[in-house]
Symmetry: C2
Subunit: 228 residues, 2 copies
DNA sequence: AGATGTGAACCAATTCACAGCA
DNA sequence: TGCTGTGAATTGGTTCACATCT
Protein backbone atom coordinates (compact mmCIF):
# COMPACT_ATOMS: atom_id res chain seq x y z
CA UNK A 1 0.00 0.00 0.00
CA UNK A 2 1.27 3.47 -0.90
CA UNK A 3 1.99 5.25 2.35
CA UNK A 4 -0.10 8.38 1.95
CA UNK A 5 1.51 10.82 4.34
CA UNK A 6 -1.65 12.25 5.84
CA UNK A 7 -3.25 8.86 6.59
CA UNK A 8 -6.71 8.00 5.40
CA UNK A 9 -9.05 7.37 8.28
CA UNK A 10 -7.52 9.96 10.56
CA UNK A 11 -8.20 13.58 9.50
CA UNK A 12 -10.61 15.32 11.83
CA UNK A 13 -12.02 13.74 14.87
CA UNK A 14 -10.51 10.91 16.80
CA UNK A 15 -12.99 10.04 19.57
CA UNK A 16 -12.05 11.47 22.94
CA UNK A 17 -12.21 8.03 24.56
CA UNK A 18 -9.71 6.76 22.04
CA UNK A 19 -7.33 9.67 22.61
CA UNK A 20 -7.37 8.89 26.33
CA UNK A 21 -6.20 5.34 25.67
CA UNK A 22 -3.49 6.05 23.09
CA UNK A 23 -0.91 6.97 25.75
CA UNK A 24 -1.40 3.54 27.32
CA UNK A 25 -0.87 1.73 24.04
CA UNK A 26 2.15 3.90 23.44
CA UNK A 27 3.74 2.97 26.73
CA UNK A 28 3.05 -0.74 26.36
CA UNK A 29 4.38 -0.75 22.81
CA UNK A 30 7.51 1.12 23.83
CA UNK A 31 8.15 -1.53 26.43
CA UNK A 32 7.60 -4.29 23.86
CA UNK A 33 10.03 -2.66 21.44
CA UNK A 34 12.60 -2.48 24.25
CA UNK A 35 12.12 -6.19 24.83
CA UNK A 36 12.84 -6.86 21.20
CA UNK A 37 9.29 -7.88 20.28
CA UNK A 38 8.78 -7.16 16.58
CA UNK A 39 5.14 -8.11 16.03
CA UNK A 40 2.11 -8.10 18.27
CA UNK A 41 -1.51 -9.15 17.74
CA UNK A 42 -4.48 -7.05 18.83
CA UNK A 43 -5.26 -9.75 21.36
CA UNK A 44 -1.83 -9.55 22.99
CA UNK A 45 -1.54 -5.78 22.93
CA UNK A 46 -5.05 -5.44 24.31
CA UNK A 47 -4.36 -7.81 27.19
CA UNK A 48 -1.18 -5.92 28.09
CA UNK A 49 -3.09 -2.63 27.97
CA UNK A 50 -6.07 -3.78 30.00
CA UNK A 51 -8.69 -3.43 27.26
CA UNK A 52 -10.57 -5.78 24.95
CA UNK A 53 -9.15 -6.60 21.54
CA UNK A 54 -12.21 -5.23 19.75
CA UNK A 55 -11.79 -1.90 21.48
CA UNK A 56 -8.13 -1.80 20.65
CA UNK A 57 -8.71 -2.51 16.96
CA UNK A 58 -11.45 0.10 16.75
CA UNK A 59 -9.17 2.62 18.44
CA UNK A 60 -6.30 1.95 16.06
CA UNK A 61 -8.62 2.03 13.07
CA UNK A 62 -9.18 5.71 13.76
CA UNK A 63 -5.51 6.39 13.10
CA UNK A 64 -5.29 4.41 9.90
CA UNK A 65 -4.60 0.86 8.74
CA UNK A 66 -1.29 0.09 10.34
CA UNK A 67 -1.70 -3.66 10.89
CA UNK A 68 -1.29 -6.69 8.68
CA UNK A 69 -4.16 -9.17 8.46
CA UNK A 70 -3.28 -12.63 9.59
CA UNK A 71 -0.16 -11.29 11.30
CA UNK A 72 -0.64 -8.35 13.64
CA UNK A 73 1.08 -5.03 14.12
CA UNK A 74 4.73 -4.11 13.69
CA UNK A 75 5.59 -2.75 17.12
CA UNK A 76 8.14 -0.18 16.03
CA UNK A 77 5.98 1.16 13.22
CA UNK A 78 2.88 1.39 15.39
CA UNK A 79 4.63 3.07 18.30
CA UNK A 80 5.82 5.75 15.91
CA UNK A 81 2.39 6.29 14.39
CA UNK A 82 0.81 6.70 17.81
CA UNK A 83 3.59 9.05 18.92
CA UNK A 84 3.07 11.20 15.86
CA UNK A 85 -0.68 11.30 16.36
CA UNK A 86 -0.31 12.33 19.99
CA UNK A 87 2.28 14.94 19.11
CA UNK A 88 5.04 13.23 21.08
CA UNK A 89 7.47 13.72 18.23
CA UNK A 90 7.44 17.42 18.99
CA UNK A 91 9.11 19.33 21.77
CA UNK A 92 6.66 20.61 24.40
CA UNK A 93 8.02 23.25 26.76
CA UNK A 94 6.12 23.13 30.05
CA UNK A 95 6.00 25.44 33.06
CA UNK A 96 5.08 24.17 36.52
CA UNK A 97 3.65 26.50 39.12
CA UNK A 98 3.89 25.40 42.72
CA UNK A 99 6.92 23.47 43.86
CA UNK A 100 5.64 21.65 46.92
CA UNK A 101 5.88 17.89 47.12
CA UNK A 102 3.59 17.46 44.15
CA UNK A 103 5.46 20.00 42.04
CA UNK A 104 8.71 18.23 42.89
CA UNK A 105 7.24 14.90 41.94
CA UNK A 106 6.11 16.31 38.61
CA UNK A 107 9.39 18.09 37.89
CA UNK A 108 11.54 15.01 38.17
CA UNK A 109 9.06 12.52 36.83
CA UNK A 110 10.98 10.49 34.30
CA UNK A 111 8.00 9.83 32.09
CA UNK A 112 7.91 13.42 30.83
CA UNK A 113 11.25 13.95 29.17
CA UNK A 114 11.07 10.74 27.18
CA UNK A 115 7.80 11.91 25.64
CA UNK A 116 8.81 15.34 24.47
CA UNK A 117 7.86 17.31 27.57
CA UNK A 118 10.56 19.65 28.79
CA UNK A 119 10.30 21.60 32.02
CA UNK A 120 11.40 25.13 31.12
CA UNK A 121 10.18 26.83 34.25
CA UNK A 122 9.46 26.22 37.92
CA UNK A 123 7.67 28.95 39.85
CA UNK A 124 6.66 29.35 43.47
CA UNK A 125 5.22 32.08 45.64
CA UNK A 126 7.16 31.02 48.73
CA UNK A 127 10.34 33.16 48.96
CA UNK A 128 12.16 30.42 50.87
CA UNK A 129 11.93 28.15 47.86
CA UNK A 130 13.26 30.61 45.27
CA UNK A 131 16.63 29.68 43.88
CA UNK A 132 16.37 26.00 44.70
CA UNK A 133 17.76 23.88 41.90
CA UNK A 134 15.60 20.90 41.04
CA UNK A 135 16.60 18.02 38.81
CA UNK A 136 14.05 18.15 36.00
CA UNK A 137 14.56 15.74 33.19
CA UNK A 138 16.48 12.57 32.66
CA UNK A 139 20.20 13.19 32.99
CA UNK A 140 21.48 15.87 35.27
CA UNK A 141 19.70 18.92 33.90
CA UNK A 142 18.40 21.14 36.65
CA UNK A 143 15.90 23.98 36.71
CA UNK A 144 15.99 26.79 39.21
CA UNK A 145 12.86 27.83 41.06
CA UNK A 146 11.89 31.41 40.27
CA UNK A 147 9.44 33.79 41.93
CA UNK A 148 5.84 33.71 40.78
CA UNK A 149 6.19 37.30 39.53
CA UNK A 150 8.41 36.02 36.74
CA UNK A 151 5.56 33.91 35.37
CA UNK A 152 5.05 35.91 32.20
CA UNK A 153 8.79 36.14 31.51
CA UNK A 154 9.32 32.43 32.02
CA UNK A 155 6.43 31.52 29.72
CA UNK A 156 7.73 33.78 26.98
CA UNK A 157 11.40 32.86 27.33
CA UNK A 158 10.63 29.18 27.32
CA UNK A 159 7.97 29.38 24.64
CA UNK A 160 5.64 27.28 26.77
CA UNK A 161 2.10 26.61 25.62
CA UNK A 162 1.41 24.12 28.41
CA UNK A 163 1.15 25.02 32.10
CA UNK A 164 0.83 22.77 35.11
CA UNK A 165 -0.85 24.15 38.23
CA UNK A 166 0.31 22.47 41.43
CA UNK A 167 -0.47 25.30 43.83
CA UNK A 168 -2.81 25.35 46.82
CA UNK A 169 -6.45 25.75 45.82
CA UNK A 170 -6.84 29.47 46.67
CA UNK A 171 -4.02 30.48 44.32
CA UNK A 172 -5.08 28.38 41.35
CA UNK A 173 -7.53 30.66 39.55
CA UNK A 174 -5.20 33.64 39.71
CA UNK A 175 -2.29 31.60 38.38
CA UNK A 176 -4.56 30.24 35.68
CA UNK A 177 -5.59 33.74 34.57
CA UNK A 178 -1.98 34.82 34.34
CA UNK A 179 -0.98 31.74 32.38
CA UNK A 180 -3.79 32.36 29.90
CA UNK A 181 -2.89 36.03 29.60
CA UNK A 182 0.70 35.02 28.91
CA UNK A 183 -0.42 32.85 26.02
CA UNK A 184 -0.65 29.37 27.51
CA UNK A 185 -3.42 27.38 25.80
CA UNK A 186 -3.31 24.06 27.66
CA UNK A 187 -3.50 23.65 31.41
CA UNK A 188 -3.15 20.63 33.65
CA UNK A 189 -4.71 21.45 37.00
CA UNK A 190 -3.95 19.57 40.22
CA UNK A 191 -5.61 22.10 42.51
CA UNK A 192 -9.04 21.04 43.77
CA UNK A 193 -10.98 23.87 42.17
CA UNK A 194 -12.99 24.30 38.99
CA UNK A 195 -11.04 26.71 36.81
CA UNK A 196 -12.72 29.30 34.63
CA UNK A 197 -11.02 29.80 31.28
CA UNK A 198 -11.76 31.19 27.83
CA UNK A 199 -13.09 28.59 25.39
CA UNK A 200 -9.88 28.38 23.35
CA UNK A 201 -7.94 27.04 26.35
CA UNK A 202 -7.82 23.30 27.04
CA UNK A 203 -7.99 22.24 30.67
CA UNK A 204 -7.60 18.86 32.29
CA UNK A 205 -7.97 18.25 35.99
CA UNK A 206 -6.42 15.61 38.19
CA UNK A 207 -7.88 15.41 41.66
CA UNK A 208 -6.34 13.01 44.13
CA UNK A 209 -9.18 13.19 46.61
CA UNK A 210 -11.80 12.67 43.91
CA UNK A 211 -10.19 9.43 42.81
CA UNK A 212 -10.16 8.10 46.36
CA UNK A 213 -13.81 9.04 46.77
CA UNK A 214 -14.80 7.13 43.65
CA UNK A 215 -12.93 4.12 45.01
CA UNK A 216 -14.65 4.48 48.37
CA UNK A 217 -18.05 4.56 46.70
CA UNK A 218 -17.47 1.19 45.10
CA UNK A 219 -15.77 -0.17 48.21
CA UNK A 220 -18.83 0.75 50.21
CA UNK A 221 -21.10 -1.19 47.86
CA UNK A 222 -18.81 -4.14 48.26
CA UNK A 223 -19.35 -4.22 52.00
CA UNK A 224 -23.09 -4.72 52.65
CA UNK A 225 -22.33 -4.81 56.35
CA UNK A 226 -22.75 -2.22 59.09
CA UNK A 227 -25.78 0.07 59.11
CA UNK A 228 -26.09 3.24 61.22
CA UNK B 1 -43.09 13.24 52.05
CA UNK B 2 -42.25 10.35 54.37
CA UNK B 3 -38.50 10.06 54.39
CA UNK B 4 -38.04 6.45 53.41
CA UNK B 5 -34.65 5.61 54.81
CA UNK B 6 -33.29 3.74 51.81
CA UNK B 7 -34.19 6.46 49.31
CA UNK B 8 -36.33 5.76 46.28
CA UNK B 9 -34.42 6.35 43.09
CA UNK B 10 -31.10 5.18 44.43
CA UNK B 11 -30.96 1.41 45.07
CA UNK B 12 -28.76 -0.34 42.58
CA UNK B 13 -26.86 1.42 39.95
CA UNK B 14 -25.84 5.03 39.93
CA UNK B 15 -24.21 5.63 36.54
CA UNK B 16 -20.43 5.64 36.64
CA UNK B 17 -20.28 9.07 35.03
CA UNK B 18 -22.47 10.43 37.79
CA UNK B 19 -20.34 8.88 40.53
CA UNK B 20 -17.28 10.57 39.04
CA UNK B 21 -18.96 13.97 39.38
CA UNK B 22 -20.39 13.63 42.86
CA UNK B 23 -17.08 14.48 44.55
CA UNK B 24 -17.03 17.78 42.67
CA UNK B 25 -20.54 18.69 43.76
CA UNK B 26 -19.60 17.68 47.28
CA UNK B 27 -16.62 19.99 47.36
CA UNK B 28 -18.49 22.94 45.89
CA UNK B 29 -21.38 22.45 48.28
CA UNK B 30 -19.05 22.20 51.27
CA UNK B 31 -17.56 25.51 50.27
CA UNK B 32 -21.03 27.07 49.91
CA UNK B 33 -22.03 25.82 53.36
CA UNK B 34 -18.86 27.35 54.79
CA UNK B 35 -19.83 30.65 53.17
CA UNK B 36 -23.17 30.49 54.87
CA UNK B 37 -25.19 29.86 51.72
CA UNK B 38 -28.37 28.02 52.69
CA UNK B 39 -30.06 27.39 49.34
CA UNK B 40 -28.72 26.89 45.85
CA UNK B 41 -30.40 26.36 42.48
CA UNK B 42 -29.32 23.73 39.98
CA UNK B 43 -28.25 26.56 37.71
CA UNK B 44 -25.92 28.07 40.31
CA UNK B 45 -24.49 24.82 41.57
CA UNK B 46 -23.93 23.61 38.02
CA UNK B 47 -22.05 26.78 37.06
CA UNK B 48 -19.82 26.49 40.11
CA UNK B 49 -19.14 22.84 39.31
CA UNK B 50 -18.41 23.32 35.64
CA UNK B 51 -21.33 21.31 34.26
CA UNK B 52 -24.73 22.08 32.73
CA UNK B 53 -27.77 22.38 34.96
CA UNK B 54 -29.56 19.57 33.14
CA UNK B 55 -26.67 17.24 33.82
CA UNK B 56 -26.56 18.24 37.44
CA UNK B 57 -30.27 17.63 37.96
CA UNK B 58 -30.10 14.27 36.23
CA UNK B 59 -27.14 13.31 38.40
CA UNK B 60 -28.87 14.29 41.62
CA UNK B 61 -32.07 12.55 40.55
CA UNK B 62 -30.21 9.26 40.77
CA UNK B 63 -29.73 9.80 44.50
CA UNK B 64 -33.31 10.77 45.24
CA UNK B 65 -35.50 13.85 45.34
CA UNK B 66 -33.58 16.16 47.58
CA UNK B 67 -34.59 19.48 46.06
CA UNK B 68 -37.64 21.72 46.40
CA UNK B 69 -39.41 22.84 43.23
CA UNK B 70 -39.49 26.56 42.78
CA UNK B 71 -36.74 26.95 45.37
CA UNK B 72 -33.63 24.82 44.86
CA UNK B 73 -31.54 22.64 47.13
CA UNK B 74 -30.77 23.04 50.81
CA UNK B 75 -26.98 23.09 50.78
CA UNK B 76 -26.42 21.41 54.13
CA UNK B 77 -28.94 18.67 53.48
CA UNK B 78 -27.61 17.97 50.01
CA UNK B 79 -23.97 17.89 51.04
CA UNK B 80 -24.87 15.29 53.64
CA UNK B 81 -26.81 13.14 51.18
CA UNK B 82 -23.94 13.15 48.72
CA UNK B 83 -21.44 12.38 51.48
CA UNK B 84 -23.53 9.43 52.61
CA UNK B 85 -23.89 8.12 49.08
CA UNK B 86 -20.15 8.35 48.48
CA UNK B 87 -19.38 6.73 51.80
CA UNK B 88 -17.63 9.81 53.19
CA UNK B 89 -19.47 9.49 56.47
CA UNK B 90 -17.43 6.40 57.17
CA UNK B 91 -13.83 6.10 58.28
CA UNK B 92 -11.55 4.80 55.54
CA UNK B 93 -8.14 3.63 56.70
CA UNK B 94 -5.62 3.92 53.84
CA UNK B 95 -2.09 2.64 53.37
CA UNK B 96 0.34 4.37 51.03
CA UNK B 97 3.24 2.48 49.51
CA UNK B 98 6.13 4.53 48.22
CA UNK B 99 7.13 7.69 50.05
CA UNK B 100 8.91 9.66 47.37
CA UNK B 101 7.76 13.16 46.50
CA UNK B 102 4.41 11.89 45.31
CA UNK B 103 3.87 9.74 48.40
CA UNK B 104 4.72 12.75 50.56
CA UNK B 105 2.28 14.90 48.65
CA UNK B 106 -0.43 12.33 49.14
CA UNK B 107 0.30 11.76 52.82
CA UNK B 108 -0.11 15.36 53.83
CA UNK B 109 -2.79 16.28 51.35
CA UNK B 110 -5.42 18.09 53.38
CA UNK B 111 -8.31 16.96 51.24
CA UNK B 112 -8.15 13.42 52.57
CA UNK B 113 -8.69 13.72 56.28
CA UNK B 114 -11.73 15.94 55.91
CA UNK B 115 -13.41 13.26 53.81
CA UNK B 116 -12.95 10.29 56.04
CA UNK B 117 -9.65 9.05 54.67
CA UNK B 118 -7.08 8.30 57.34
CA UNK B 119 -3.51 7.36 56.55
CA UNK B 120 -2.75 4.40 58.80
CA UNK B 121 0.43 3.30 57.11
CA UNK B 122 3.36 4.57 55.08
CA UNK B 123 5.69 2.02 53.56
CA UNK B 124 8.89 2.27 51.56
CA UNK B 125 11.54 -0.11 50.26
CA UNK B 126 14.37 2.39 50.69
CA UNK B 127 16.09 1.73 54.07
CA UNK B 128 17.19 5.37 54.32
CA UNK B 129 13.58 6.46 54.51
CA UNK B 130 12.46 4.08 57.24
CA UNK B 131 11.60 5.78 60.50
CA UNK B 132 10.92 9.16 58.98
CA UNK B 133 7.90 10.81 60.58
CA UNK B 134 5.55 12.42 58.12
CA UNK B 135 2.68 14.74 58.98
CA UNK B 136 -0.35 12.91 57.65
CA UNK B 137 -3.67 14.46 58.41
CA UNK B 138 -4.90 17.86 59.45
CA UNK B 139 -3.56 18.73 62.88
CA UNK B 140 -0.20 17.47 63.95
CA UNK B 141 -0.71 13.74 63.67
CA UNK B 142 2.30 12.04 62.17
CA UNK B 143 2.86 8.61 60.67
CA UNK B 144 6.17 6.82 60.69
CA UNK B 145 7.53 5.25 57.52
CA UNK B 146 7.91 1.50 57.89
CA UNK B 147 9.75 -1.06 55.79
CA UNK B 148 7.90 -2.65 52.92
CA UNK B 149 8.20 -6.04 54.62
CA UNK B 150 5.69 -4.85 57.21
CA UNK B 151 3.04 -4.39 54.51
CA UNK B 152 0.81 -7.23 55.65
CA UNK B 153 1.09 -6.25 59.32
CA UNK B 154 0.29 -2.61 58.61
CA UNK B 155 -2.76 -3.49 56.52
CA UNK B 156 -4.09 -5.79 59.23
CA UNK B 157 -3.31 -3.51 62.17
CA UNK B 158 -4.86 -0.52 60.47
CA UNK B 159 -7.81 -2.43 59.03
CA UNK B 160 -7.16 -0.84 55.65
CA UNK B 161 -9.24 -1.87 52.66
CA UNK B 162 -7.79 0.84 50.42
CA UNK B 163 -4.20 0.96 49.22
CA UNK B 164 -2.38 3.67 47.28
CA UNK B 165 0.56 2.66 45.11
CA UNK B 166 3.09 5.47 44.62
CA UNK B 167 6.12 3.33 43.90
CA UNK B 168 8.31 3.24 40.79
CA UNK B 169 6.76 1.24 37.97
CA UNK B 170 8.82 -1.94 38.35
CA UNK B 171 7.69 -2.45 41.96
CA UNK B 172 4.00 -1.78 41.42
CA UNK B 173 2.67 -5.21 40.43
CA UNK B 174 4.44 -6.94 43.29
CA UNK B 175 3.14 -4.42 45.81
CA UNK B 176 -0.29 -4.80 44.29
CA UNK B 177 -0.23 -8.58 44.69
CA UNK B 178 0.77 -8.27 48.32
CA UNK B 179 -1.93 -5.71 49.03
CA UNK B 180 -4.56 -7.97 47.49
CA UNK B 181 -3.26 -10.99 49.41
CA UNK B 182 -3.47 -8.95 52.61
CA UNK B 183 -7.14 -8.24 51.96
CA UNK B 184 -7.12 -4.82 50.30
CA UNK B 185 -10.01 -4.55 47.83
CA UNK B 186 -9.54 -1.05 46.40
CA UNK B 187 -6.35 0.27 44.86
CA UNK B 188 -5.38 3.70 43.60
CA UNK B 189 -2.40 3.31 41.28
CA UNK B 190 -0.03 6.13 40.39
CA UNK B 191 2.61 3.90 38.83
CA UNK B 192 2.59 3.92 35.03
CA UNK B 193 1.76 0.24 34.59
CA UNK B 194 -1.41 -1.74 33.97
CA UNK B 195 -2.04 -3.76 37.12
CA UNK B 196 -3.42 -7.28 37.02
CA UNK B 197 -5.88 -8.01 39.83
CA UNK B 198 -8.64 -10.47 40.68
CA UNK B 199 -12.11 -9.31 39.59
CA UNK B 200 -13.29 -8.47 43.11
CA UNK B 201 -10.65 -5.76 43.47
CA UNK B 202 -11.39 -2.22 42.34
CA UNK B 203 -8.54 -0.33 40.68
CA UNK B 204 -8.26 3.27 39.54
CA UNK B 205 -5.23 4.68 37.81
CA UNK B 206 -3.86 8.20 37.77
CA UNK B 207 -1.14 8.78 35.24
CA UNK B 208 0.57 12.14 35.16
CA UNK B 209 2.24 11.60 31.80
CA UNK B 210 -0.99 10.37 30.23
CA UNK B 211 -2.80 13.55 31.15
CA UNK B 212 -0.08 15.70 29.61
CA UNK B 213 -0.18 13.62 26.45
CA UNK B 214 -3.92 14.12 26.08
CA UNK B 215 -3.38 17.86 26.48
CA UNK B 216 -0.59 17.80 23.91
CA UNK B 217 -2.83 16.01 21.44
CA UNK B 218 -5.40 18.80 21.56
CA UNK B 219 -2.72 21.47 21.69
CA UNK B 220 -1.25 20.06 18.51
CA UNK B 221 -4.58 20.31 16.72
CA UNK B 222 -4.83 23.90 17.85
CA UNK B 223 -1.58 24.78 16.08
CA UNK B 224 -2.02 23.99 12.37
CA UNK B 225 1.47 25.34 11.79
CA UNK B 226 4.78 23.64 11.16
CA UNK B 227 4.94 20.49 9.07
CA UNK B 228 7.91 18.08 8.99
C1' DA C 1 -44.04 32.09 39.11
C1' DG C 2 -40.17 29.40 39.30
C1' DA C 3 -37.17 25.60 39.64
C1' DT C 4 -37.07 20.53 40.11
C1' DG C 5 -37.39 15.90 38.22
C1' DT C 6 -37.88 13.09 34.19
C1' DG C 7 -39.51 10.89 29.73
C1' DA C 8 -38.01 11.20 25.01
C1' DA C 9 -34.67 12.25 21.55
C1' DC C 10 -30.09 12.44 20.58
C1' DC C 11 -25.22 11.41 20.51
C1' DA C 12 -20.98 8.82 21.88
C1' DA C 13 -18.80 4.64 22.97
C1' DT C 14 -18.61 -0.31 23.28
C1' DT C 15 -19.44 -4.84 21.72
C1' DC C 16 -20.60 -8.14 18.26
C1' DA C 17 -19.69 -10.77 14.41
C1' DC C 18 -17.94 -11.33 10.09
C1' DA C 19 -16.19 -9.80 5.46
C1' DG C 20 -11.79 -9.16 3.50
C1' DC C 21 -7.05 -9.56 2.95
C1' DA C 22 -2.16 -11.48 3.79
C1' DT D 1 -5.94 -20.28 8.01
C1' DG D 2 -5.67 -16.30 11.02
C1' DC D 3 -6.05 -11.74 12.33
C1' DT D 4 -7.27 -7.10 10.99
C1' DG D 5 -10.67 -3.59 10.00
C1' DT D 6 -15.41 -2.27 10.15
C1' DG D 7 -20.54 -2.10 9.48
C1' DA D 8 -24.50 -3.12 12.55
C1' DA D 9 -26.47 -3.62 17.04
C1' DT D 10 -26.31 -2.34 21.70
C1' DT D 11 -25.36 0.05 25.69
C1' DG D 12 -24.41 4.22 28.28
C1' DG D 13 -24.50 9.20 28.68
C1' DT D 14 -26.09 13.84 27.51
C1' DT D 15 -29.35 17.22 26.09
C1' DC D 16 -33.98 18.85 25.40
C1' DA D 17 -38.21 20.40 26.81
C1' DC D 18 -41.97 20.21 29.70
C1' DA D 19 -45.14 18.23 33.24
C1' DT D 20 -45.13 18.66 38.11
C1' DC D 21 -45.04 20.49 42.46
C1' DT D 22 -44.03 24.20 46.10
Amino acid sequence: MPLSRASDASRRGIPEATVARLPVYHRVLTSLVDQGVVTVSSEELAAASGVTSAKLRKDLSHLGSYGTRGVGYDTEYLVYQIARELGLTQDWPVVIIGVGNLGHALANYGGFASRGFRVVGLLDADPSRIGEKIPAGPQGSVVEVRPIDDLEDVVHEGGASIGVIATPAPAAQDVCDRLVAAGVTSILNFAPVVLTTPPHVGVRKVDLATELQILAFHEQRRQPEARS
